[in-house]
Amino acid sequence: MRPRLLLFCAAAALLASCRDERIATYRVPKDAPSPAVSTPATAGTSDITWTLPAGWTTQPDPSGMRKGSFLVSGTGDAKADMSVTVFPGDVGGDLPNVNRWRGQVGLPPIDDATLAQTVQTIDAPAGKFSFIELSGVNAAQKTVRMLGAWLQQPDRRWFFKLLGDDALVTTQHDAFFAFLKSVSFAAVPAVSGPVKAQSTNDLPKAPFAPFAGGAMPDTNAVPAPVDSSATPTPPDSVPQASLTWTAPADWQAKPLGQMRLGSYGVSGDAGNADISIIAFPGEAGGLLPNINRWRGQLGLAPLAEADLAGTTTALDGADGLHFTVVDLTGQAAGAPARMLGAILSFGGQTYFFKLTGPDALVARAKPAFLDFLKTVKAP
């Protein structure tokens, strides 16, 4: 009896300890894109049109994220894949994207100087496309060629990529250029509010906010993810999912890029300063790690918890919002730099307001920055 019992206990312990450790395999229908995500995004398919070159056929979209997906077939099993994608902002700029593409054809990264020599410009009715041609050996040890082009619009960047068999792609130059020249856009609809990104690679998922004790869930219990809203020039008073603010008159609104909720620039004799507003769910690691992250950006040594109180100041804003403000001076990109940062915890998210630039300019902009913080309001 007892050995059986022991065996049962051991089996139960084994079950309990490894029940989540197994690799699962299954076949499932492909995910349909979420309607909420696709509503503004599929506007892209209606606001972009093109003429398909001869020999190009439409193919299913393996990722579900493409605006256009085409297959070019050559002799034998030679194939090339053409994709059209769009992302909000500038997606990190030219260099990271070119280096990402270079990685896909097994080429090492390049620097800005080399980039300038490799990128060509193509004038087309839709605008000036940047074009690059790459050839290398991919992960499967096959020689491949890529024709890549991108078009920067004020709020988004379009990518056109033909990748496949080296010899086949070489024969597709004219077709590729003809395709780019056939691209046209319908008038971009007026942006009345933040445009939900079609797909960004850095959208955090909504944090969980379980309601406890049988209480009714808050209608805002699921905060909108940090979203790269893509308004080309955000108005001075930006309606956000949760917070609103009013930027000073001398701050110039900038494209929001991938992660910013607000993005501004301020200029002076000393140069330019950058103001960013971002948010992360929860505490985003807490006060100290974030301040130390900022200190790291200015080449300053990290602080201990005990030193925190001496380096931060509290600022009471509107609607009972409490900011923790730091003023840091150090080095960035080899030049003296100063950063004013404010951290605010609100609605299950942590907001980071940051002004970075040359010392003199930041010193001059400091009162405006602190006044700006006081304009931040809860909805």
Binding site: C9, K30, G92, G103, D202, V222, P281
Partner: protein, 385 residues
């Protein structure tokens, strides 16, 4: 009985053992409640209750500090059964005690089964969206998807816990093995332009080369979710295919071609697929007239089940849907964004506690009833004499 067995039997049937185990149970609950400050409600369940021995890390070394919930519960169960078998002899007069004890045994066993088999997850969908899976609240997985088929995805889902181990992962359905080169159980991923001074990650492929990863302390708060990041190297027979950075921060899958097939990599909340799908048709957020005080939250969903046909159901507060062995509760809602979240609970043994309580109640009623009848008989006999 063999003389050697007698001390064991005496030990397992003793009432003293019962008392000691009950005291340990009380202490277990008390200490686990205190530890909740550090580990949160999820963490302590695994550390204190769903374990045989509670292990505390002292200077990095695991030290057993207390018997765990499984041990105490298991011992109580053995104690109860042993005492029952050893001491009680069945008779109709004691049938109530028998029933009550079987009820208590069932109650302990049901908790054990619940601990083993209960699973909580959520379905998060927008208006009009159809989902045929729910997602785990806590666990993440690396999905390696063979997306070559235009209609179907062949998924190999690797639990995050396997990535955390420093061991290569091999699976018969994958033409490459997966080696974890970096793993953070909680992290923040930013575009590199936002954190220019952050150290480079080992990633060589796709978006991984453009982002910066900052490790974060593990969170145990019930309203926060750890966001792991891993850099995984895929190695085929002819060598490395590259290193990809995967994290729930990167929602879009990263695609590449290998061995004549199109593959996608994505780290996401662990998914539990169901043989049916659900579409969110309508959501309602009623308030009391003239106020902003919420009165009711409800989601109207359509179940698409090939076996049973389509069916529309309304899920609202305190009125869950029980379907396919799962219970769907209205959990969260954001009407402005057309988003509804249902909590999905799988607990195959959910009926056992009810049955156990019924048995205990029935046993007590019978036992006290028999006593009462005996007492009344004696009394009436005494009155007659």
């Amino acid at each position: 009985m063999h003389d050697l067995l007698k001390p064991f039997v005496r030990f397992f049937v003793s009432l003293r053992l019962t008392v000691v185990l009950l005291v340990f149970s009380i202490l277990l609950v008390f200490l686990a409640t205190l530890d909740q400050v550090h580990l949160g409600v999820w963490g302590i369940q695994h550390k204190w209750f769903f374990t045989f021995i509670v292990v505390q890390s002292v200077n990095g070394f695991p030290v057993p500090v207390f018997p765990g919930g499984y041990f105490i519960g298991g011992m109580l169960l053995i104690n109860l059964i042993a005492a029952h078998v050893y001491r009680f002899k069945f008779s109709w007069k004691k049938s109530g005690i028998w029933l009550a004890h079987i009820g208590v045994i069932l109650l302990i066993a049901s908790q054990f089964f619940t601990g083993l088999m209960q699973r909580e997850s959520q379905v998060q969908f927008n208006l009009g969206e159809t989902k045929h899976y729910s997602e785990d609240f806590l666990l993440d997985e690396l999905a390696v998807i063979d997306a070559t088929d235009p209609k179907f995805d062949d998924v190999v889902a690797i639990p995050e816990s396997l990535l955390a181990r420093d061991e290569p992962i091999q699976h018969p359905k994958l033409p490459f093995r997966i080696v974890t080169r970096l793993y953070y159980p909680n992290s923040v991923v930013q575009m590199r332009s936002q954190a220019p001074n952050a150290p480079l990650s080992p990633a060589t492929m796709d978006i991984g080369t453009q982002v910066a990863v900052t490790p974060q302390p593990i969170t145990y708060k019930p309203d926060e979710h750890n966001m792991p990041t891993a850099c995984v190297e895929l190695i085929g027979p002819e060598g490395s295919l590259g290193i990809w950075l995967v994290s729930p921060w990167i929602e879009q899958s990263q695609a590449f071609d290998y061995a004549g097939r199109t593959w996608q990599l994505v780290m996401r909340s662990k998914r539990y697929y169901t043989p049916y799908a659900m579409t969110l048709l309508q959501l309602k957020n009623d308030v009391y007239p003239g106020t902003d005080i919420p009165k009711n939250f409800s989601s109207q969903v359509r179940i698409h089940d090939e076996a049973k046909g389509d069916r529309d159901v309304l899920i609202y507060m305190n009125n869950p849907l029980r379907y396919g062995g799962l219970t769907y509760y209205q959990y969260q809602m954001n009407k402005a964004n057309g988003l509804s979240v249902l909590q999905v609970v799988r607990n195959p043994s959910w009926r056992l506690p009810y049955l156990a309580c019924l048995l205990v109640a029935l046993g007590l009623v019978i036992q006290f009833g028999l006593h009462l009848i005996g007492f009344i008989r004696k009394r009436s006999a005494a009155v007659k004499t």
